[in-house]
């Protein structure tokens, strides 16, 4: 017997509560990265959960102080690798806003198109992994089949398949290739049918519903108090979407609905995200119809762009909640301080308070439905 075991055996109180501490992660199939959850279990019931983050901490905010605004764009991809386009956006928007640069309208439209497509791709990854956590393996393959089409579109656009680095301060790096628009339309047409298949396969399934309905309820008060944003907040019934409530880019020109949940349980979070994918398709379609012509980037912006002294906080609606950049410039070509506010960080902070009393399996279902992504938490 190991020394450690002997020690722990001595401390066992035979009359006391029979709790065990289980380390879920950092390497575990259901923590979607390197999240570590130190869970105290009483049988299968959770007594306490303490998330330990930081395994992916790369000090992006420190690196941002040592890079020009352009150089940092590829690093913003790494904030949320499932939605790189959405992570690019707040950074370039913050630099533009502080520097007084207005990107050309075509660039704004292209940004909306790629961001919404990436939102669909990101939600597909969530759909796949959430159901994988619940033990259904097949949906994973369907979701990745469709995500692959979006990735192909992006590859056509910028050559990269995961970390695009597509946006620039003052626009986007390249114009859309000729076949992008027809292929995107084709994808949307395909995806509207595919999502019906998803519903048939999963949404009505009785096992899925008993696993999710009334599990992991997050009240609207708690959600707001803990700074939860994105689909998780809307699933609790709080109508708060930055695309509508604090419009940025060209979002005011599109019609779209904000799907809302009623109870804030895992099933509502599921439904809200499914509806968001449909709405994103609508936005992409409208943007393709209205796409103006013209340049896609402000011409002759210096590579070593200097941004006047000042501060700005720009926030956008990323797939996992509010992603914002708080940019402090002292007039140099590098940021003096950049704080990156991400959705998952606050979403994870509410997670331990949702758990006590739930079963271990519920914990997996809840964490799956909350859609954490670890690089976004650790940055």
């Amino acid at each position: 017997m190991l020394e450690l075991d002997k020690k722990s055996m001595e401390n066992i109180d035979p009359e006391g509560p029979q709790e065990i501490v289980v380390n879920i992660g950092p390497q575990h199939p259901s923590t979607h990265g390197v999240l570590r959850l130190v869970v105290t279990l009483d049988g299968e019931r959770i007594v306490k959960c303490d998330p330990v983050v930081g395994y992916l901490h790369r000090a992006l905010e420190k690196i941002a102080e040592n890079r020009t605004y352009l150089q940092f764009v590829p690093l913003t991809d790494r904030i949320d690798y499932c939605a790189s386009m959405n992570s690019n956006l707040p950074w370039v928007m913050a630099a533009e806003k502080l520097g007084g640069i207005t990107p050309p309208p075509r660039a704004e439209y292209i940004r909306v198109i790629v961001c919404e497509l990436n939102r669909v791709a990101s939600h597909l990854v969530w759909w796949a992994t959430n159901l994988l956590d619940l033990g259904a393996v097949t949906p994973f393959n369907y979701a990745f089949r469709d995500r692959e089409m979006i990735i192909d579109l992006f590859e056509m656009l910028c050559g990269a398949r995961l970390l695009y680095g597509y946006m620039r301060v003052g626009g986007v790096s390249k114009d859309l290739p000729d076949e992008f628009i027809p292929k995107t339309r084709k994808f949307i047409e395909h995806f509207r049918e595919a999502i019906k298949d998803y519903d048939r396969l999963v949404t009505g399934n009785i096992i899925f519903q008993t696993r999710t309905i009334d599990k992991g309820v997050l009240s609207p008060e708690d959600a707001v108090a803990y700074g939860v944003t994105g689909p998780n907040l809307r699933a609790s019934g709080v109508s708060w979407d930055l695309r509508r409530d604090e419009p940025y880019s060209v979002y005011p020109e599109f019609n779209f609905e904000i799907p809302l949940g009623k109870k804030g349980d895992c099933f509502d979070r599921y439904i809200v995200r499914m509806d968001e994918m449909r709405q994103s398709c609508n936005i992409v379609e409208q943007a393709l119809n209205k796409l103006p012509s013209g340049p896609v980037i402000v011409p002759e912006l210096p590579y070593r762009l200097k941004i006047p002294k000042g501060e700005v906080y720009v926030r956008t609606e990323a797939p996992r909640g509010e992603m914002g950049v708080y940019l402090v410039s002292d007039g140099d070509s590098k940021a003096y301080r950049a704080k990156i506010r991400t959705g998952s960080f606050s979403n994870l902070s509410v997670f331990p308070s949702m758990l006590p009393g739930a079963l271990l399996q519920d914990m997996i279902a809840i964490s799956g439905s909350m859609d954490f992504i670890l690089p976004e938490i650790d940055r």
């Binding site: 983050v53 930081g54 901490h57 000090a59 905010e61 420190k62 040592n66 890079r67 020009t68 150089q71 708690d222 707001v224 108090a225 803990y226 700074g227 709080v238 708060w240 409530d245 604090e246 590579y303 070593r304 002294k309 000042g310 501060e311 700005v312 906080y313 926030r315 509010e322 914002g324 708080y326 402090v328 003096y336 301080r337 704080k339 506010r341 960080f345 606050s346 994870l348 902070s349 509410v350 650790d378 940055r379």
Partner: protein, 155 residues
């Protein structure tokens, strides 16, 4: 509600504290450290302000002092404000706002971890990003680490 209106309301309510506009940030209000808790409670509870949502807490290293930054928004009223509190570098201490916005718990832990700002009465002030035994606070401007590389300045 914009900054001047919010500031006016604050000045009416708290005549004992001083409020000033942040010259850098069009939505920033600089407040005194000892006013923080009172102001925060008022911002949450007043029906015309209703700042029920704390976006983040962070800090800026300004050399001789740290500026602790609170970004607030109001979900029902759709307006936002940025509070700034300056704390001295030698004694970087400030009251925690965790009791008012629970989300501040993790954000303050992050600011503590990366800047070394001590939040008083915080329920669980541990490092969050860095390993437990880490020395120093990485986001301070004077932080050095043997593996840090500074890119050459390109022009």
């Amino acid at each position: 509600m914009n900054r001047s209106e919010i500031k006016q309301k604050l000045e009416e309510k708290f005549s004992c504290y001083k409020f000033s506009d942040d010259p850098d940030n069009p939505e920033g209000i600089i407040i005194q450290p000892d006013a923080l808790l009172d102001v925060a409670k008022y911002l949450v509870n007043d029906i015309d302000l209703a700042f029920n949502f704390l976006n983040f807490v962070t800090a800026i290293d300004r050399g001789s002092k740290f500026e602790v930054v609170y970004m607030l928004s109001s979900i029902p009223l759709k307006h936002r404000v940025l509070l700034k509190v300056a704390v001295p570098r030698e004694v970087p201490e400030i009251e925690s706002v965790t009791t008012i916005w629970p989300t501040a718990n993790w954000h303050e832990r992050e600011a503590y971890d990366l800047f070394g700002i001590k939040f008083l009465n915080h329920p669980d002030l541990r490092r969050i990003m860095m390993p437990d035994g880490w020395e120093g606070h990485p986001l301070r401007k004077d932080y050095v680490h043997e593996n840090m590389v500074h890119l050459p300045d390109m022009g």
